[in-house]
Symmetry: C2
Subunit: 335 residues, 2 copies
DNA sequence: TTGACTTCCCAAAACGTTTTGGAGATCTAC
DNA sequence: GTAGATCTCCAAAACGTTTTGGGAAGTCAA
């Protein structure tokens, strides 16, 4: 549209001065600065982002890579988080790029292209795994990044995560206190960090209350996975009286399996999930769940990214958010 | 990392020739071309995107703006669609930018910034409204764009959409054929095009079968909205025997309301939704729904964008995808 | 008056591509 | 042999910023 040259000409100034005036340098007279700013507004001048990032050698953009496994992608609220994150980044003049990666093999290719091409100044990594090659790669290259979820070596990088371990420990403890003795866990694949930690919390609570049963079944983190898991668990010789599910999606599948076998969740068998999906309040019976007790994970994520880009140490940017129980109707006592 | 200058030096060629060799121009000798390409691979050269787009005067990026209304954002599968779209765009060297817009007022600001700054060559508009100022703005500016969903004047722009009207007409017709006489509609706000069209399909079917009842209730397209709508409809003096819901989320809320009043969906009262959410198969009873009968809306969206950027006329890029019924257990006959 | 300091401004050189407008060979046809 | 065609290649000029390294006035102290 309009550029510095035009702006400078129309003001009878040099490009340099106009540029510096807009950037608020101190070596331009206040009067001139205001004149320039007014003119810029009038011509609604916007710096050309390509030219700017060419010169500054920065992309002024953050990328988030989306592992597009066959099937669904993560919890449905995920887009909301990204959206909140993008909103905060935009305030800082940073674009948010969506980088879908096809399958786990293409993932690293995408990363290489991304970084060789300097298309982003920083990266958001989601769906972290305990041993995450993406994280290793980014650390080796020295690119700032923040992960959504922890890894085995997360003491060495910035991350934000909910305290799923404590959440599951709490939940299992409460179930035990309510008289449950066989508290089963419906687990998600254990290479995913969140799944690992939630299981760990469950185990810790079992240790705590001295229960020796270790009923569990691992399945994909979907409704179908939860259904399959519940089916299997219920046909054991000593079936569980409570199902602690890695995600609400799985819990919803489990509810369906219970119903099919004539059980009422919350009476014969307790069910608890995690994520507090919008639909959790509307299952039958309404699903007891838990959720991260912060309204703005996306924004916090952006904040950490910005801090990291500003040079803050990764060690100072490690947030574990508390998880709050959302009791509804399915966590009832053992009968 | 490495640039044309280095590459040219190491090959004893000029920058021009290297550039043209990589772009496959015909005025460079085949032997040279291959030598250059090999060297580029070896040094894993990637053109600097900022420099390229500065010179080409193109952003090599597509933006999608996300209206972040308070609360949830659209159907949960949405991110999957974007992901598929981004994947196809990446093959074409186009980045996908996420542009969250805060509230309906900030929306146009975001658009102006986006386009004044030439940050994107094309735009994806989602959650279209019947009278959509975003569309008007883009058309006025002459920026290529594709909408996901129709508008009142969609004959003048590229769009992709499911045939919700036919889907709802089918569904209502089938309900009538099964003996239902009071088929109510749980509508989403009518400024949203998809909501308008689905309602229209419902009305058409009622006309067709000569039903004069026009039971309906409009609410936000969420579980809570569906719950509220069902509550209201069921306490009318002549309550409906079937609930045709604008979305599965609403249908899930409606199911919950039915249960609360002691009804079994699919027996006393039929319920049908739209979207075929992953959880629809696991509600109690499993929710009858419908869905777009195409596996790759996201990819098709990308394809249209690419065609549009390639100069194809908007008129030739208007896709209405058929909607397929997904009968489960809640569309049962009137008793 | 002079020299040192400020204050305000600017010309020119980057950043890494693409594109324009040839230039020097080599070949073809007469 | 020579005029033109044809093949290869290249120097230089963009694209629109930011940044470097001053320079020309004006101010102040001696």
């Amino acid at each position: 549209m309009s550029n510095l040259k035009l702006l400078a000409q129309s003001l009878g100034l040099s490009i340099t001065t106009v540029s510096r005036a807009l950037d608020g340098y101190s070596d331009v007279a206040p009067a001139t600065r205001e004149r320039v700013q007014a003119a810029a507004r009038a011509m609604n001048y916007r710096p050309n982002p390509a030219a700017r990032s060419l010169r500054r050698r920065k992309a002024e953009a953050v990328a988030v890579t989306l592992p597009t496994e066959p099937g669904r992608f993560g919890p449905p609220i995920f887009l909301n988080m990204l959206s909140a994150c993008g909103q905060r980044l935009a305030e800082e003049g940073l674009d948010l790029m969506l980088l879908p990666t096809a399958g786990r093999s293409g993932e690293m290719d995408t990363y290489r292209r991304l970084l060789d091409g300097r298309r982003a100044d920083a990266v958001i990594v989601v769906r972290t795994r305990l041993e995450d090659e993406r994280v290793a790669f980014l650390k080796e290259r020295g690119i700032p990044f923040v992960t959504h979820g922890r890894t085995a070596r997360c003491d060495e990088h910035a991350f934000i995560d909910g305290d799923g371990e404590a959440g599951f420990q709490d939940a299992a403890r409460q179930l035990a206190a309510a008289g449950h003795r066989r508290i089963a866990h419906i687990a998600a694949p254990q290479d995913l960090t969140f799944a690992h930690l939630r299981r760990k919390g469950w185990l810790a609570a079992l240790d705590e209350v001295g229960s020796s049963d270790r009923l569990e079944y691992t399945a994909p983190p979907t409704e179908a996975g939860g259904y399959e898991a519940a089916q299997w668990l219920l046909q054991q010789s000593a079936p569980p009286t409570a199902l602690l599910c890695a995600t609400d999606s799985m819990a919803i599948g489990a509810l369906s399996a219970l119903k099919e076998r004539g059980f009422t969740a919350g009476r014969e068998i307790a069910v608890i999930g995690h994520d507090n999906l919008p639909s959790a309040a509307f299952t039958d019976p309404p699903l007891s769940s838990m959720e991260i007790a912060a309204p703005d994970v996306g924004r916090q994520l952006a904040e950490m990214l910005i801090a990291r880009l500003g040079g803050r140490e990764a060690r100072e940017l490690q947030t574990i958010l508390p998880v709050r129980q959302v009791p509804r109707a399915t966590h009832g006592p053992a009968n």
